[in-house]
């Protein structure tokens, strides 16, 4: 699959299935690089922009601010930040390049775009590692000032690509951004190093101009951020304005025009940008409110999960207790202790951390305590690719524990959905007295999307009822007939003193039991309790297309946007294809098998080497095929479109 991911560069013209996901392509593709000299504003359905620079260049900030300004003008959007693994890689190195891609559109979009239409490269390394993705004829803005001998060498360029034919396929704009920035902030009497820090703001100013926006929002934001550091604030604002002014006044080279992406028609409401990890943290706090439980988070920092810990640490005003434990085992055990105590125990981590928590999760299964376990997946195995995204923990989530140890597994499909799935995880955990695993991934964690903010009043509360002192014939494993869920007796309640533990227990008394038949029945009971959840979740619906046909593309998690766009595109081409997306992975919706069987063929795109596909086959005996990409990068729409074509039944 990855070889196809470069496809957009190789193909020209109108073969939509093999090109990127914008309709702007044709307008911009200038045969052989020649282009009409029009500076008037061009109206486009969507544009993909990528900022790329050194880790120290502030590209994430620039991207985030551009995102914000796009949201304010009413575009739909989707972002993909791509960090280097190093904290601060040496300046100028290729592995120190930090990128931020944003897709802005006037219609609803679901992915940050396959390939950028506009690339801003702040130095040779950024050019080297990113230009291959730029569409032919794309606009390429480079900071000429950073193309020093030293930087060229670090990037592995034998000669300056700005000077030869290397970049002939693109509309190249060379600007000495460094010099312009220095000039813009000259009045502030800063050292050169300090002064150059504002390069990103100069660039942002220019790009804002390019999209016909003003600098107001960004100025406000800078004002807030550096309220106490006046010089920093003012020099950044100066650079920002200078960049904008440069666009307006300077003689722009051939081929540069102003992009205008009209407002998208989004459903009415109040919106904000939200990353998956933010949404997750807020969802947990909302769950705490809806369940009327104190939230206790036990966590240990790990990329890309740490920001959930950070976000919750700032929400103590909601009664949230956060505990940075000595390791992942202590983190999950503290959450279990908290649940035993009558709080909502939560633990957040990524794949390696889940591996370490496996034994303790088994304890929560055996003691039937509620627990929310969140795995923000990253590239594996082992340390793998810590800053990249992947979906390869599905097997671990469902199967990775000793003994027969089933638990519900759910997932989020978009950053905003992380909010709702955090609530769903808590609902299932407390209602069924079980640990619940929620899977998101690095792409959702850091990617942002405009999110229609829900109101708490619209969410269904699920207040927890603890066992009361008066419980007749109390023992801790008394079950609800319907949910098979046991009581939750909270320490501190007189009369409910009891002991639990990881050894098998008697189904009648809750005491330790080594009785063979009891173990058989308890194992079945635990399995049944989880299986029953299928009755408590929505049926599997169709996201796009009919509920029967030639081909079903079924996915889970963050591939949602790419699959949906791809199915839409293929349907426009007349292909009879539909999209279904699993949010509950264990148990699955009751109608899953039936739905699968209504299609002639089933394909399962996953950012792993084939996991959901194996489970679907084993569960429903359907000959589903996997479409697998294990490159630490999200699917491109074109990749899935091409897979759809490959798997259509011969007609």
């Amino acid at each position: 699959m990855t070889s196809a991911s470069k496809g957009s560069k190789l193909h020209r013209g109108r073969n939509a299935a093999q090109t990127r996901d914008t309709y702007a392509y044709e307008d911009m593709n200038m045969d052989g690089g020649a282009s009409p000299n029009k500076l008037e504003r061009e109206e486009l359905d969507s544009v993909v922009i990528r900022f790329a620079g050194d880790s120290g260049d502030g590209m994430q900030l620039t991207g985030a601010q551009f995102t914000h300004s796009s949201a304010m003008v009413g575009n739909d959007l989707s972002t993909f930040p791509d960090f280097p693994a190093e904290i601060r890689a040496p300046a100028g190195s290729t592995y120190g390049v930090s990128g931020f891609q944003i897709h802005v559109a006037s219609h609803d979009i679901m992915t940050p775009g396959d390939a950028p239409d506009v690339l801003i490269a702040m130095n040779p390394a950024a050019l080297k590692t990113n230009v291959g993705d730029l569409v032919d004829g794309g606009l390429l803005i480079v900071n000429e000032g950073a193309f020093t001998k030293g930087n060229l060498k670090k990037a592995g360029y034998e000669q300056n690509p700005l000077d030869d034919e290397t970049l002939a396929a693109y509309r190249l704009v060379k600007l000495d951004i460094s010099k312009h920035t220095l000039a813009a902030v000259a009045a502030f009497d800063l050292g050169t190093k300090e002064a150059l820090r504002s390069k990103n703001m100069w660039t942002l100013g220019l790009v804002l101009w390019l999209f016909g926006r003003d600098t107001k929002n960004t100025e406000e934001w800078l004002g807030q951020k550096f309220a106490k550091k006046e010089v920093v604030r003012d020099s950044n604002i100066a650079a920002l304005k200078a960049g904008h002014a440069y666009g307006e006044t300077a003689e722009m080279p051939t081929g540069v025009h102003i992009y205008k992406v009209p407002k998208a028609t989004l459903s009415p409401g109040t919106y904000r940008n939200v990353t998956g990890n933010e949404a997750l943290a807020w969802g947990l706090v909302a769950a705490s409110k809806l369940s009327e439980l104190q939230l206790v988070l036990g966590s240990y920092p790990i990329t890309p999960a740490s920001t959930v810990l950070h976000a919750l640490s700032r929400l103590k005003n909601f009664g949230v207790v956060t505990f940075q434990a000595e390791d992942e085992i202590a983190a999950v055990c503290a959450a279990i202790g908290a649940s035993f105590g009558g709080s909502l125990g939560v633990t957040t981590t990524s794949g390696p951390g889940i591996a370490l928590k496996a034994e303790a999760i088994g304890l929560a299964i055996m003691t039937e305590l509620p627990l929310v376990v969140i795995d923000i997946q990253r590239g594996g195995p082992s340390t793998g690719l810590p800053t990249k995204t992947e979906q390869s923990d599905l097997f671990q989530a469902i199967y990775g524990r000793n003994g027969d140890a089933p638990l519900p597994v759910i997932s989020a499909s978009t950053p905003g959905e992380c909010f709702f799935q955090a609530i769903e995880a808590a609902r299932l955990a407390t209602k069924y007295m079980t640990p619940v695993m929620l899977l998101t991934d690095g792409y959702l964690a850091n990617g942002a999307e405009p999110w229609k903010i829900p109101s708490m009043a619209d969410l269904t509360p699920f207040p927890v009822e603890f066992a009361g002192s008066e419980t007749p014939d109390f023992h801790p494993y008394i079950r609800d007939d319907e949910t098979l869920s046991r009581l939750w007796p909270r320490p501190g309640t007189p009369g409910l003193e009891h002991r639990i533990g990881g050894i098998e227990k008697d189904r009648a008394s809750g005491n330790i039991s080594y009785d063979p038949e009891n173990h058989h029945l308890m194992t079945k009971m635990r399995a049944q309790k989880i299986a029953n959840i299928a009755d408590d979740i929505p049926e599997l619906g169709i996201e796009e297309g009919e509920d029967t046909g030639d081909l079903l593309v079924i996915g889970w998690g963050s591939t949602h946007g790419a699959i949906r766009q791809a199915v839409r595109r293929a349907r426009k081409e007349g292909v009879q294809v539909s999209h279904a997306h699993l949010r509950h992975l264990n148990p699955m919706p009751k109608n899953t098998g039936e739905l699968l069987r209504r299609f002639k063929r089933v394909i399962v795109p996953e950012m792993n080497n084939g996991m959901l596909v194996k489970i679907l086959r084993g569960e429903y005996l359907v000959d589903a095929k996997g479409i697998n990409k294990i490159s630490g990068q999200p699917f491109k729409v074109a990749e899935i479109v091409s897979a759809i074509h490959d798997h259509l039944p011969a007609s």
Binding site: R272, K316, E497
Partner: protein, 338 residues
């Protein structure tokens, strides 16, 4: 903690479960003493929780008619920390063994001690893995032959009290399973202490390591081999022996009052709050020295972790401007589509 409504007795703390330790196990004595001590502490059953790991000793919670959680091997400190953070009102006793607490659970022990979570931590030190049938433990002596060390152990043992002090523990005590008169008061002091109180209990495992402490416990030699610490009292033991500081070597030495001109004055006076003293006492071992029993160290200046955690929560609640989740979700940049 709520005061119990009526005076409880030992029986109130005794669960209906059959005890499953071997006959003669030192754990029985510890259980009995604790069950007898709790009523005197005026605690309620419902606010008392026992958290243990895995091991013979970790069966303890089943025998207490309080709340209890028999968790997994080595993780009791972490579970107990989470529980205490969830509900600081609970009175938590943690039960562990030398294997559970110092082998697989050593890291959690380190961190629960340095954080000073308000718990009573009872480490049953029988210098052996009882439950798994007799392998050597981190406190086993060099040379001990066990199924996994048929030629004798070669790992230098951990001294629990030294480890606990190195970890930043602030209440360190040592006592003996069968010595109810010593055990009871140590439990009481540990319970009084607001913070992590670490109690090493020298425990006999008659099945796999019988007599591991007889060089300390045996009646005939107990007097000579036990130093019973009392705050403010000179460190005397045996008939007329005592400990003196050698200021040159900064080491303790055994002296006999009346010999070589040694008087009562020369004997070091125990000061629980003196960490240096505790560091020196922790390492003493027969035959050269008596073993130090009682409260080795008690630092009353430290604050319990759980209190500090909740103080931050309360402060945040009191000062935050974002007062509802709806407001939280709408904080920062938002825009409206009509």
């Amino acid at each position: 903690m709520n005061a119990p409504t009526q005076k409880l007795t030992r029986k109130d703390f005794t669960s209906d479960q059959d005890i499953r330790w071997c006959p003669g196990c030192g754990d029985y004595a510890i259980l009995a003493t604790l069950q007898r001590t709790l009523p005197a502490l005026g605690v309620s059953r419902e606010n008392t929780v026992f958290i243990s790991g895995i091991g013979c000793s970790s069966r303890f919670p089943y025998y207490m008619d309080t709340y209890g959680f028999h968790t997994i091997h080595g993780r009791a400190p972490a579970v107990a920390t989470g529980l205490k953070l969830a509900n600081p009102e609970l009175d938590i006793w943690m039960i562990t063994g030398d294997g559970d607490g110092l082998s697989i659970g050593g890291n959690h022990m380190l961190h629960v001690l340095r954080r000073n979570v308000d718990l009573q931590i009872m480490l049953f030190n029988n210098r052996i893995y009882g439950l798994t049938k007799g392998q050597y433990s981190p406190t086993s002596l060099v040379g001990l032959r066990t199924p996994s060390t048929p030629m004798g152990s070669i790992d230098a043992p951990v001294v629990p009290a030294s480890f606990a002090l190195g970890a930043g523990g602030r209440f360190i005590a040592r006592t003996i399973d069968t010595d109810a008169k010593h055990l009871g008061p140590v439990f009481t002091r540990a319970h009084e202490y607001r913070g992590a109180s670490f109690i090493e209990i020298l425990q006999n495992c008659p099945v796999f390591n019988d007599g591991a402490w007889s060089h300390v416990k045996d009646k005939e030699i107990a007097d000579e081999s036990q130093l019973r610490l009392e705050h403010g009292q000179p460190m005397r033991f045996g008939e007329n022996k005592g400990l003196r500081l050698n200021a040159k070597t900064i080491e303790l030495e055994v002296v006999t009052i009346g010999e070589d001109g040694v008087t009562e004055e020369d004997i070091l006076v125990h000061d629980e709050s003196n960490k240096s003293m505790a560091l020196l006492l922790a390492n003493l071992e027969p035959p050269r020295f008596p073993i130090a029993l009682g409260i080795l160290y008690c630092d009353t200046d430290a604050h319990p972790y759980d209190q500090a955690v909740h103080a931050q929560v309360e402060h945040a609640k009191a000062t935050s401007k974002v007062d509802s989740i709806d407001a939280l979700l709408r904080s920062g940049h938002t825009w409206t589509v009509e």
